[in-house]
Each structure stands twice: as structure tokens, then as C-alpha cells.
Symmetry: C2
């Protein structure tokens, strides 16, 4: 079970090459150059599958459609309220966060997702006033 497919491999390779966390639609447009007949359904299917087996990450930012990250390792993201861009964030010293959350909680905490919000550097430069 789980055969390889050229389409899936292309999607994964594409995601690894990008650092802007593209949407399914963007993936679709780009994979089309190599596979002109690929369908959006196939893109969605493969993105879900890759996320399920932990080879990529799905980002639900709450703003617009889901985005996808070719880097499967846990890390943090920043979302610019101004332009909507999603950036990787290098945050260290947050490993204890699950422990802190577990302190006052009866269930079992397996992980967490954090999105930081604000203004990216270029939007910040554009206007000093809010």
C-alpha cells in the first residue's frame, strides 16, 4: 500500500523548494507546468496524504485558505496582518511550553501550534504610523 506517484513526488519537491508556504491553488498552478493534466483534486489528495504521513505540514492560519510547508519539523510561523504573507520564524526556548500547559490540565498534551501575528519588516517599513 502507498505506491509512489510522479505527481506526488513533484508536489513534495516543489514544496521543499519554496519558503512562502503556498496554498493548494499555487501548488496546482506550478505543478501544471510539469503535469499539464494534473487536477486540483489530485493536488489536494496528495497534500492531505503528505501531511497525514508527516512529510509536510498543513498550516491553518485562519486567514484565507490552508497553506503548506515542505519542512515537516516543528517550527513557528509569522503571519503579516498587512500583506498576509506567512514566514518561518526561528524561535528558541519554547520547548517547555507543553509542560507549562499540562500543569493545570487533566488530559494529555501531545503538541501545539503557534502563529505569531503582526507586521512583516517590509510592511513595517512602508508606513511608520499604524
Amino acid at each position: 500500500m502507498l505506491k509512489r506517484s510522479k505527481q506526488r513526488e513533484s508536489i513534495k519537491k516543489f514544496l521543499i523548494s519554496r519558503y512562502d508556504h503556498p496554498t493548494a491553488e499555487t501548488v496546482y498552478m506550478n505543478i501544471k507546468e510539469e503535469f499539464p493534466n494534473i487536477s486540483l483534486g489530485t493536488v489536494y489528495r496528495n497534500l492531505s496524504l503528505l501531511a497525514d504521513i508527516g512529510e509536510i505540514q498543513k498550516l491553518s492560519t485562519g486567514i484565507g485558505p490552508d497553506r503548506f510547508d515542505g519542512n515537516p519539523k516543528p517550527h513557528y510561523h509569522f503571519i503579516c496582518k498587512e500583506c498576509g504573507s506567512v514566514l518561518d520564524l526561528n524561535v528558541t526556548g519554547l520547548d517547555h511550553i507543553n509542560v507549562l500547559a499540562a500543569q493545570d490540565f487533566d488530559g494529555e498534551i501531545e503538541g501545539h501550534v503557534t502563529y505569531f501575528y503582526g507586521k512583516c519588516s517590509s510592511c513595517k517599513a512602508k508606513r511608520q504610523t499604524s
Copy 2:
């Protein structure tokens, strides 16, 4: 501008009375008891408006439809992977998180949202094995 409306007030009051972070659909069903003719569109409009002016919070968990929280103050949430319930989480000692994130970042960090994932206490009790 911004007139009061009985519908909006009822929606807010309802949200404040609930601690399970209901969806728009659930809000709709409940408000219908007081306003049988209210439409789902009105519910969505008011939920968006209330979230925009900071009187409630919209929660985009990445699982299912958005949920709404009558408590506008920043706090943390836990999502049970098993049953899908969304619980408030009392986490202290995380005030420095924005500062940590800003350390290696040129833009401006205004806030963050964190969702913890795992098994809630009752789902944990149901089966010891994963």
C-alpha cells in the same frame, strides 16, 4: 455608526454563557429560540463584527468550522484530537513568548495564537492504549 441590535446582543450574551466555544451553526440554532426568524447570515455577520471590535474571539482550529469564544481576553485553548472538543486552558508563564519570537525577526510582533493538541481527560480515560 454601529447601532445596537437585539440579535447581536443576544448572540453576545449567549456566547458569554457558554464555555464550549460553539460554531456559528450552534449559535444560530440557539439564538433561534429567541429570534425564530433570524438567519444564518445575520449570525455570521454579527460574529465577524463582534470579533473585529474585539468583544469575542474567533478560533480557527484547523479542524472543522470556526468556533467562537465569548471571552475576549487572550488565553489558550486545547483541542482534543479524539472528540474534537475545544477547552480553555489556563497557562501561565508564557508572557515572554512574543519577545522570544521577536529576537530573530525584523518585523513587528503584535500577538500570537496557540492551540494545544492531544487527548482530553475523558477521552484519555476511555482508552489507556493509544
